[in-house]
């Protein structure tokens, strides 16, 4: 598990990052925490002759909590997310989810930017970002642009980001109502067998808003608009939850792996979504 030789860059500003990317095209890649990229390089599944370390690039590590939105810099680590009191108050689901990613060692290194840019269906943040309707900020040779998290993922490791673009951060509207992030995994440090993110708003005893996204059950994260429709306007009773699960199952497309066969994954996805909705609703 030795990577092929590579040149290491540690630019001091974004301009320099972009110029290295422009110069080397496909052969260059940015590195954030390195906890997805370096294992791939060591397995020689990723060949990165020019590795650009982002850690000295300024202004990528801030968390700004405003009245109606939250902006998180790409280099904010999962540990930072967990430790930030203001963030936990404004969007407790971030902390609940981040605590279920990997283990403390990985979380000290792994960043939100790397997690969402990576494009691995196993990553937890992409589904969460879709649930929260986040916007991703990208910068490239042609300037800055924004993409909705729900439009970002195309296939495993394929995203809307161009090779010469860098993700600078994410913005999420301050989440409302009850929340829950549930993840079934085989052990600490494992990617999800099935995971669900739910935000839900209760008015009286009726659901007026919901958001549902699933992780590691397709080659991209799955935001399930139909599951949302099945919940909004209901009292989130058993029938509504069943309808939401059925809708979600239509949207996902899990594949067999060491975690189990497709039938099992579908079943667990349903169980996990039910638990997530029930817990979120109980907090709404």
């Amino acid at each position: 598990m030795i990577p092929a030789a590579f040149d290491y860059y540690r630019p001091k500003d974004m301009e320099a990052v972009l110029s290295i990317l422009a110069e080397h095209g496909d052969d260059a890649r940015v590195m954030a925490g390195g906890h997805s990229l370096i294992p791939m390089m060591k397995l020689r599944m990723a060949d990165v002759p020019h590795l650009i370390d982002l850690q000295d690039v300024p202004d990528l590590s801030d968390i700004v909590v405003s009245a109606d939105s939250i902006k998180i810099g790409a280099m904010v680590t999962q540990a930072d997310l967990i430790d930030h009191a203001g963030l936990t108050k404004a969007a407790p689901i971030l902390r609940e989810a981040a605590l279920q990613i990997a283990d403390p060692q990985v979380r000290y290194m792994g960043t939100i930017g790397g997690n969402v840019a990576n494009g691995d269906p196993g990553n937890d943040m992409p589904g969460l970002m879709q649930c929260l309707d986040a916007t991703f900020h990208l910068v490239g040779p042609d300037g800055a642009r924004d993409v909705a998290a729900r439009d970002f993922y195309e296939a495993a490791y394929m995203t809307d980001r161009e090779d010469d673009e860098v993700l600078t951060g994410v913005t999420i509207p301050t989440p409302q109502g009850g929340y829950a992030y549930e993840k079934q995994k085989r052990k600490i440090g494992d990617y999800a067998t099935a995971a669900a993110a739910v935000q839900i708003v209760k008015d009286g005893d009726t659901c007026t808003f919901a958001s549902v996204a699933m992780t590691n059950l397709s080659d991209t994260p799955i935001y399930s608009a139909d599951a949302v429709d099945a919940l909004v306007g209901t009292k989130v009773d058993d029938a509504a939850i069943k309808a939401a699960i059925a809708a979600m199952l239509d949207d996902i497309d899990p594949s067999e792996d060491n975690r189990g066969p497709v039938a099992f994954k579908n079943h667990v996805a349903g169980v996990i979504l039910r638990r997530t909705i029930e817990r979120a609703w109980s907090r709404a």
Partner: protein, 808 residues
């Protein structure tokens, strides 16, 4: 001389047997100051690594090393063609088979060693590996041993004669070219007759899946050939350094005195580091060729995919009983998947290890066992993972058969065990499959265990849970896992145990220094078991010097006496016995010296903790420290100066530790997630040398058992690809997954061991696996489950629930 401290204080100061002395090794391990093989760094040292086969079965049409040799830093690339003139392209295995060192025309498993790249550092070696071009011709892959026994595909050309007929193997005739051996124990016809005429017969087929011990430190070595003095030094992760020295000498022709094998600190072995690997041979050859030291260190994937695996036993059992539950007969057939080469490390006469301990803790009058070993396209290995020669398989088999029989009889499984246990007064007990159990008191241990967990209360709670489940009040079932195991360890008596002709005795050499401290060297080698701590305790009690004043040294064949190493829980039963016996020789001489110094007859002094006292006059004594000084510095008529002793110990029998385990588990039937609420482990390992070290061994072994039972496996797809080659998929539990273990004990000393100790290193693994598995199976008993195969990971448990109709 007046004694200032009490006798109790003198006993405490010794830190001898029975005291929870802190491990002397831990100061260096916890400070990162251990010295492992990868810490060995020599001037000009090169690094070697393997080109490995991506295919499980293929012919090798060509190997082109040209491009690799052009990679900066790459010095040489060895292939089978280079080793053949030296006769080193194949090597003997410890099971009497032979194994390719580098692919000789074909490969038999994914990850097999194809070429060895020697480079200035490991980075250049990795680049060199990428540049070696190997042309493969894929062949039909056999990953199932039953298919292998029917197939026209012959895996090993050396198993057939020129007419294509299977030739005899190391353990007798083959009935198919892919068949390795048939091994039998017990009486076939009488057993079959008993079963045919029995009132009650339970049958079951079970697969004990392939897994791997995955020691934290992978395997590796540094070979250094000194061309000036002709000496080869080989550092490595060797659980049996002397055996390695002898084997290296036999296959290389280098005289044994010119070979020095050193096992430095070893980061876990579990049997994975007993055998000889191609990496050792290639590193030695590379060092001879280049004249420079050569290091080889596996990465995690190499280790998981290619080094000694564990289990892979397909077991078929029949057990018969009277309607009251008294067992009358046991029949077991095993189809054993050995992979591409038979590279187990069994004693020669035991190609299926001690599988014939499979009558377990029960008085079973008639039994028969047959094991068929089979070649497949999987990695070689077999005897590893705290299994002490297939004892883990045997205990799993019988502890499952008992449960299956209990279901058939509609009886409580704890009671069924109780009425079939070998009784205390039956020891030494001659079992139907040949072994003579040394000692045991199973009923006492069982009663203690069941009482400790409030067994009846657990069953009542479980029954209520089943009611609640049926009433839709809960989706969680509760399982009570039981296991009562009898281990067989301490191989072993030279009359029936040898490996490649090397008798399985062990040894200890003690040198007392004039000021009353000592060094003792043993033929064993610790891999984390804490030998430096516990062997010093044995000696402290035997020779009356404080354990803190005794250095224990192992692992350097230039200094340590010959021994067969550490595996199969043999260190305490064999080398521990040698230690006590050597200590007694020291004491015998000390007694003569004391008598001389005290001016009395030899028989008029007696040993007391740390001194010899004149019988009836305890105020007249000589401490062992005083005696040591006199031994060197006082001319004593008729006695040679010095105080040293050596003992080579050939045990008269194995030892038979046992234990009673109970696991309480909750299972979410919808997700297959398990939660271990309680785990109680009672171990009887005879005399207890260091209770804390025992507890540590039990915690470690149970954690491994948990892993194996609940998810750890080396899984292959139909093409022979390893699906679990990294720690992402290979389950290694962390503190998070591990429950709180309650440990307990009884003490039934071994009657034939000098200090009565039996060994404990493997017990918790051996007994733990069936206990965890039985808990899962038991949770579903009320719904019609009799048996499901391990590993009980989420999806397989879910599948069981699904098949039993528990999902709507």
């Amino acid at each position: 001389m007046k004694d200032e401290i009490s006798r109790e204080e003198r006993v405490d100061n010794l830190k001898g047997m029975g005291c929870s002395r802190k491990r002397v090794e831990d100061a260096r391990f916890t400070q990162g100051k251990g010295n492992y093989v990868d810490d060995v760094k020599l001037d000009g040292m090169l690094f070697g690594d393997f080109v490995r086969s991506p295919y499980a079965h293929a012919n090798i049409k060509s190997i082109n090393t040209e491009a690799a040799l052009k990679v900066p830093g790459v010095l040489a690339v060895l292939t089978a063609a280079d080793l053949e003139p030296l006769g080193l392209h194949w090597m003997p295995t410890l099971a009497g088979d032979k194994q390719m060192v580098l692919a000789d025309g074909k490969v038999l498993f994914q990850g097999q060693e194809v070429a060895y790249v020697v480079a200035e550092d490991r980075y250049a070696a990795a680049d060199g590996i990428e540049a070696v071009e190997v042309e493969y011709e894929e062949l039909q892959v056999l990953v199932n041993p039953f298919e292998a026994l029917k197939s026209d595909v012959i895996l090993r050309p050396d198993t057939v004669d020129e007419n294509g007929k299977a030739v005899d193997g190391a353990h007798g005739p083959r009935n198919h070219p892919n068949h390795i051996f048939t091994w039998e124990a017990g009486d076939k016809d009488p057993t079959e007759e008993v079963i045919a005429n029995a009132d009650v017969v339970a049958e079951e087929e079970m697969y004990y899946h392939r897994t791997h011990p995955c020691p934290l430190e992978t395997c590796g070595c540094v070979a250094s050939m000194d061309k000036v003095n002709g000496k080869l030094t080989l550092w490595g992760t060797f659980q049996a350094p002397h055996a390695i020295r002898t084997i290296v000498s036999l296959i290389s022709g280098i005289e044994e005195h010119n070979i020095r094998v050193i096992s430095p600190d070893i980061g876990g072995g579990f049997g994975n580091k007993v055998g000889a690997y191609p990496g050792y041979v290639c590193s030695v050859v590379a060092s001879i060729v280049t004249g420079k030291p050569v290091k080889w260190i596996e990465d995690r994937m190499d280790n998981l995919m290619t080094t000694a695996f564990a289990r892979d036993y397909w077991m078929k059992g029949k057990i018969s009983a009277t309607p009251e539950g008294k067992i009358t007969g046991l029949h077991c057939h095993v189809t054993a998947d050995h992979g591409g080469f038979d590279a187990c490390a069994d004693p020669t006469k035991f190609p299926a290890g001690f599988m014939n301990i499979c009558t377990g803790s029960y008085d079973i009058p008639t039994a028969y066992l047959a094991v068929d070993g089979v070649y497949t396209n999987k990695a070689p290995g077999g005897v590893s993972y705290r299994c002490s020669f297939r004892v883990t398989e045997a205990v799993y088999f019988i502890e499952r058969m008992i449960e299956v029989l209990a279901i058939k009889l509609d009886m409580d499984a704890a009671e069924l065990r109780r009425i079939n246990f070998i009784k205390k007064e039956q020891f030494p007990y001659k079992a139907a499959l040949g072994w003579e159990y040394d000692s045991g008191d199973y009923h006492t241990a069982w009663d203690k265990a069941l009482k400790a967990v409030d067994y009846d209360g657990l069953r009542a709670e479980q029954a209520q849970r089943v009611e609640d489940f049926k009433a839709g009040k809960t989706r969680k079932l509760m399982g009570v896992g039981l296991s009562f195991f009898t281990e067989i360890v301490g191989a072993g008596p030279v009359k029936n145990c040898d490996i490649l002709g090397l008798g399985m005795f062990d040894s200890c050499e003690i040198r007392i220094h004039p000021t009353g401290s000592a060094i003792a060297r043993l033929g064993t080698i610790s891999q984390g078991q804490g030998h430096a701590t516990t062997f010093a305790q044995i000696l402290a009690t035997e020779i009356g010097l404080s354990a803190d004043s005794i250095t224990i040294e192992e692992g350097d064949t230039d200094t340590a006496p010959y021994g067969l190493g550490t595996y199969g829980s043999r260190s305490t039963p064999v080398a521990g016995a040698a230690t006590a016996m050597a200590g007694r020789k020291i004491r015998a001489k000390a007694q003569m010296i004391a008598a001389y110094l005290l001016e009395v007859h030899d028989n008029d002094v007696e040993f007391d903790v740390d001194r010899f006292v004149v019988k009836g006059a305890p105020e007249r004594f000589k401490t062992m420290k005083e005696i040591a000084f006199a031994a060197y510095n006082q001319a004593i008529p008729g006695i040679e100066p010095g105080l040293e002793a050596v003992s080579y110990y050939d045990p008269p029998n194995m030892t038979y530790p046992f234990g009673a385990y109970v696991c309480v588990m909750d299972i979410d039937v919808d997700t297959g997630v398990t939660e271990i609420r309680r785990f109680y482990a009672l171990d009887d390992c005879g005399t207890r040398i260091n209770p804390m070290v025992i507890e540590g061994q039990v915690h470690g072994g149970l954690t491994e058992a948990l892993a194996v039972a609940l998810g750890q496996e080396i899984a292959y797809d139909d093409m022979g690809n390893v699906k679990t080659g990294t720690l992402m998929d290979f389950f290694l539990p962390t503190a998070w997954e591990v429950p709180n273990y309650e440990t307990d004990y009884t003490v039934t000393p071994s009657p034939h061991h000098p200090i009565g100790a039996k060994g404990v290193g493997e017990s918790p693994h051996v007994g733990g696996v069936p206990c965890f598995s039985n808990a899962v199976q038991d949770a579903f008993r009320a719904f019609g489950n009799t048996h499901t195969n391990m590993p009980h990971d989420h999806w397989r448990i879910w599948k069981t629930a699904n098949e039993l109709g528990l999902h709507d």
